[in-house]
């Protein structure tokens, strides 16, 4: 490792790190927000489940670099516009999460649902206050996968020139120099680990009854 090089380029690396966090974090949050209503619909109306899962699967099949390149043609944005990356990763997050949300909601134990119905909960309130909280652990597990893969996918966008940590890889390649590459890999992994920890602890905080259950057992 050439620490001098790192110190000299510290300000640039910091701004790339921040960009990387935004480019991977925003799609994760927006994607989750979109997939909850979509997943709830697919879980509630059975006819909607097969087409939703099929479209999501198809989207998830398209390699990220292809989507990064094709989106400007569809959206009319510039090829370097970070919006392309955000839209592409939001699509991936929705593609992964919509099925997870639908399956998690469908897997809510029927007696829990019936108890809520008997207490007079209407469908929307039942979804928000009973079914979604019960589904949180499964949704959280899916979100961890989505968040971590988003962090890795953002780096690919460096190939078409969107500035973030992936830039360290293209730079390392051009300079024939390991330091930026190693720094990039370490920083990417660190962001992924932090995202993962945030999701894990949010799930833990949002489901206090699971801890109680474990303590009692």
């Amino acid at each position: 490792m050439n620490w001098d090089w790192l110190a000299r380029n510290a300000s640039e690396i910091i701004s790339w790190t921040l960009a990387h966090v935004l480019l991977s974090g925003v799609p994760t949050v927006v994607g989750l927000a979109l997939s909850i209503p979509l997943g709830a619909l697919a879980s509630r109306y059975r006819w909607a489940y097969p087409p939703t899962v099929t479209i999501a699967g198809l989207l998830y099949t398209i390699p990220s670099i292809a989507l990064f390149v094709l989106l400007p043609g569809i959206l009319g944005t510039g090829i370097l516009d970070p919006i392309n990356v955000i839209v592409a990763l939001t699509l991936y997050t929705v593609a992964l999460m919509v099925r997870t949300v639908a399956d998690a909601l469908t897997a809510v134990p029927p007696d829990v649902r019936q108890a809520a119905v008997a207490m007079g909960y209407r469908p929307l309130r039942r979804l928000i206050t009973v079914e979604l909280p019960v589904a949180i652990p499964v949704i959280g597990a899916g979100l961890r996968v989505a968040a971590v893969s988003n962090v890795s996918l953002v780096a690919v966008a460096a190939l078409i020139g969107v500035p973030q940590l992936g830039q360290l890889f293209t730079q390392g390649q051009q300079l024939d120099f390991y330091t930026p590459i190693v720094a990039g890999i370490v920083l990417c992994a660190a962001i992924a680990v932090i995202f993962d920890a945030i999701i894990l602890s949010t799930v833990k905080l949002a489901t206090p009854w699971r801890r109680l259950g474990r303590a009692a057992a």
Binding site: A66, G73, A107, G142, V145, L159, I160, F169, I185, C188
Partner: protein, 258 residues
């Protein structure tokens, strides 16, 4: 814009020669198949053994998660640099690139193999043992056949990973369809970039569909909804919802287990 892409794709000169679409597609498929084959040779036996014995599950899940967190572009560039310094120039980039493709194809196959084998109904395992089968026979004749749907879902994830990473590998001078994306960018030729991207997407979707169909028929009829399919019933009903989660999203299932 879309007209330009179409024009690029339908120009017959773009299909022939050493930088032609046929040649580039052939290269792309070749890299992908080699990488997936290498990954399968490594991941299948290890995954089967872990699933069968139940040992090392945490280690494998941890390694797979860690590999997923590493950016593929970074690994690719790093290994390519190393190979250029250590291997004969003619084969260095190709070897390094295919090694990275294989490396990234291992985790999905490994996790779904061990999850598939570990998820076999203990009653089926007990019955096989009761019939006098040895551990190896139980694994080969009972556990692996029952795990086939999950094996194929891992194979599909591995294929998609390899197709995507092979595209990126054009950046370190590998051939394949990624060349159009990288060269098109350098030449400010958007139709070429987008045409290449479209071909990559088609290759990914097509291969995935083929593997899905092969997997459907490779699995024992008792495991799939094949009979119901022929009886004109919904293929989704039978596997909905618990089986479907584990069938195509082993990552989620594995993550949920930790």
């Amino acid at each position: 814009m879309i007209g330009d892409i179409w024009a690029w794709l339908t120009t017959s000169a773009h299909w022939t020669g050493s930088d032609g679409i046929w040649q580039r597609t052939e290269e792309h498929v070749e890299y992908t198949l080699i990488a997936v084959a290498v990954a399968a040779v490594i991941a299948l036996p290890i995954g089967a053994l872990i699933g069968h014995t139940g040992r090392g599950t945490g280690l494998v899940a941890g390694t797979a998660d860690a590999l997923r967190a590493l950016p593929s572009l970074g690994l690719l560039v790093m290994l390519a640099l190393w190979a250029l310094g250590h291997l004969p120039v003619g084969i260095a980039l190709q070897t390094a690139s295919i090694a990275v493709l294989a490396l990234l194809a291992i985790p999905p196959m490994l996790t779904s193999t061990y999850a598939g084998v570990a998820a076999v109904d203990p009653a089926a395992r007990d019955a096989a043992e009761g019939m006098g089968m040895s551990g190896g026979q139980v694994l080969l004749r009972v556990e692996l056949p029952i795990a086939v749907p999950l094996l194929f879902s891992g194979l599909r994830s591995a294929y998609l990973q390899a197709v995507a990473t092979a595209t990126i590998a054009a950046f370190v001078s590998l051939g394949g369809l990624g060349r159009y994306v990288i060269d098109g960018l350098a030449q400010h030729d958007y139709p070429k970039m987008a045409g290449g991207a479209l071909l990559v997407a088609v290759l990914a979707v097509l291969g995935d569909r083929i593997l899905a169909v092969v997997g459907h028929f490779a699995a024992s009829a008792g495991l799939t909804s094949r009979r119901r399919l022929w009886a004109n019933a919904s293929p989704y009903r039978s596997s909905y919802p618990t089986a479907s989660l584990s069938e195509t999203q082993p990552e989620v299932v594995n993550a949920a287990r930790q």
